[in-house]
Subunit: 340 residues, 2 copies
DNA sequence: AAAAGTTGTGAAAACGATTTCACAAAGAGT
DNA sequence: ACTCTTTGTGAAATCGTTTTCACAACTTTT
């Protein structure tokens, strides 16, 4: 077999198959109006030459890149990595490629990433949450690139959303702890600046408590990044300042795991002296001791459903624009009725 | 401001800036030979029109796509997600985009993904491990796409490698346990088929034991996928069949965490009755109780260094072709001297 | 048996940038 | 003052596909 220097182009295939480039193109794109004999010659020629189409040329002419972009805060957190895994798997079934960018929770950086994605010609963009620079959305809309919010259920005027209601999830946590008889609460939230999800969970939690007569002022809320150490530190502040809560809701399993670790070190019993509820239901929720009661976020499903939306035809999309997924409470060992 | 319908093209910018397309192109690409006044007009015009270059056209003509591909087993495992996070962060500093694909540890699927990447025109590909279909490497070489192995330190004739020596890492684990006085061993390896890394760790472990007079036949090895449950099941087999080991080396922290969970459930003391060593030093290594002794894999660094290689000029690359990173043993609480 | 479709194919234009080449104007060297 | 560079610019070719249009060769309808 020859060593192909550069690489074979469509016209080389045409030459070898003794037909025109147009016909080769038709064969490659599954156009049915090609004689079987010719089609066979083309396929054979393409294989023999190890022909691989030039995606740039194809994209340029056809204005279809089969490229999708995703901008997520970080891949270092399983909740996002898993979503992307589901997204990618589904897209790749349809030969659509995924370009991924991380913004580190910074919406200005997100804008830059979006710009680059637009330049690359992505046909859709997957975003996390609903807090974005107006310029980002304006750019996408101007270029007719559709986008999907994830981890949130409220779509805006344009764009779609697949996720869940963070406020409702926060309320669920509060309701559960109230039902266990707790009345002294605390919360370790994620950083809420520019983060509608972290803010939504906090607000839902506080709102539900308020409905039961527990004023916001009496519920200490501390914020931490999604890291074990921050969970530890935040829990320490909660336990050392003011009245000790008997129930703490954490905006993430990581924070909750850190909180549990702090309790271990400080000799505070979980759930004996304090109940702890996490968020996400990551694999680590089974590794803490006690195992973590938490709210399950369907990360993989979100990715898959976002992919389905992206792959759907414009007419199908109407039905898919807003998908709210259920959040389940997973009760394990880190919560108990309040001790009297 | 006008609502631009489709979107402005380079020629529109040229028209508005009252110059030729060639000049606009020069400005956009930082060509220094452009009069300052003209450059300014062009920049202003581009901004006014919200001009974003068409990457496909640019790539087609210039043969530079600024696209890199990565094919990893899964994003659902932090050890890969973190590597990709590092890789992406570094690449994006230089406006290079990353297309990511998951193969699910299947080298045939990997080939398909690679083909798609080639079609997209990626300039480099990041691969995990050194076990690949010959056809995959042949295709990349034929298209002059360079590739980087990660999680392994042995580069082949062509391509580069940034990672560590899995065999040596396995030996390190063995040495450490031998030094604690253990003489009854077991191993929970990852699935070794088509996986040079899992196989390397196992072989290193067994080789080192053999050097100390402990024959391979006396060391039970069970394999499991990187899931908690598999760790549990594997540990059960190890503890119930034949002679009980007093020291078990696991090919991954996940497996080790599962093993510890099994011991808890079965009432086996760790490290009292059995010492357990993990691999990866994921965040979860701090969450098990007892905390896990493990070997630290520099996942993020691997991603970063792979990016550096890819971004380097051909001349610089010669120095970077083979980078072996150190693996550190992190001693925590899951290991202890053998009990007599 | 003529008109009206099908089917299969090729020639050539088009996609939107970059690059090559040519050339004018201005500056430098003698 | 006259060549020799240097600097700045535009016209046109080009990258490798897809798409449009035209058309020939058959079928089917009337």
């Amino acid at each position: 077999m020859d060593i192909e220097d550069g690489s074979a182009k469509l016209i080389d295939v045409a030459r070898l198959a003794n037909c025109s480039p147009a016909t080769v193109s038709r064969v490659l794109n599954g156009n049915p109006n090609v004689n079987e004999v010719v089609r066979d010659r083309v396929v054979r020629a393409a294989r023999e030459l190890g022909y691989v189409p030039n995606g740039s040329a194809r994209a340029l002419r056809s204005t279809r890149t089969r490229l999708v972009g995703a901008i997520i805060p970080t891949l270092d957190h399983a909740i996002y990595a898993t979503m992307v895994d589901g997204l990618q798997a589904r897209l790749s079934e349809k030969d659509v490629s995924l370009i991924i960018n991380t913004s580190g929770y910074d919406i200005n950086l997100e804008y830059e990433q979006a710009r680059l994605l637009v330049e690359r010609g992505v046909e859709s963009v997957v975003l996390v949450g609903s807090t974005h620079l107006p310029a980002t959305l304006a750019m996408l809309e101007q270029k007719r690139i559709d986008y999907v919010y994830t981890y949130t259920s409220k779509a805006m005027e344009s764009g779609a959303a697949v996720g869940f209601d963070n406020e409702k999830a926060g309320r669920t946590a509060a309701r559960y702890l109230l039902d266990l008889g707790h009345f002294q609460f605390g919360m370790i939230a994620g950083i809420t600046q520019d983060n509608d999800r972290a803010a939504g969970r906090r607000d839902g939690f506080l709102n539900e408590l308020e409905r039961s007569g527990i004023g916001r002022a009496t519920v200490p809320v501390v914020e931490g990044a999604y890291r074990l150490d921050d969970g530890r530190r935040c829990m320490q502040r909660l336990m050392e300042e003011g009245t000790r809560p008997t129930a703490v809701f954490c905006g993430s399993d990581i924070l909750a795991a850190g909180a549990i670790k702090y309790c271990h070190a400080a000799g505070i019993e979980v759930p004996g002296q304090v109940s702890i509820v996490g968020f996400d239901n990551l694999e680590i929720a089974e590794l803490t001791s006690p195992e973590l009661t938490t709210l399950e976020v369907p990360a993989r499903d979100m990715g898959r459903i976002a992919a389905d939306y992206i792959l759907a035809s414009p007419s199908q999309r109407l039905h898919l624009r807003q998908r709210e997924l259920a959040i389940r409470l997973i009760v394990r060992e880190s919560t108990a009725p309040v001790r009297r």
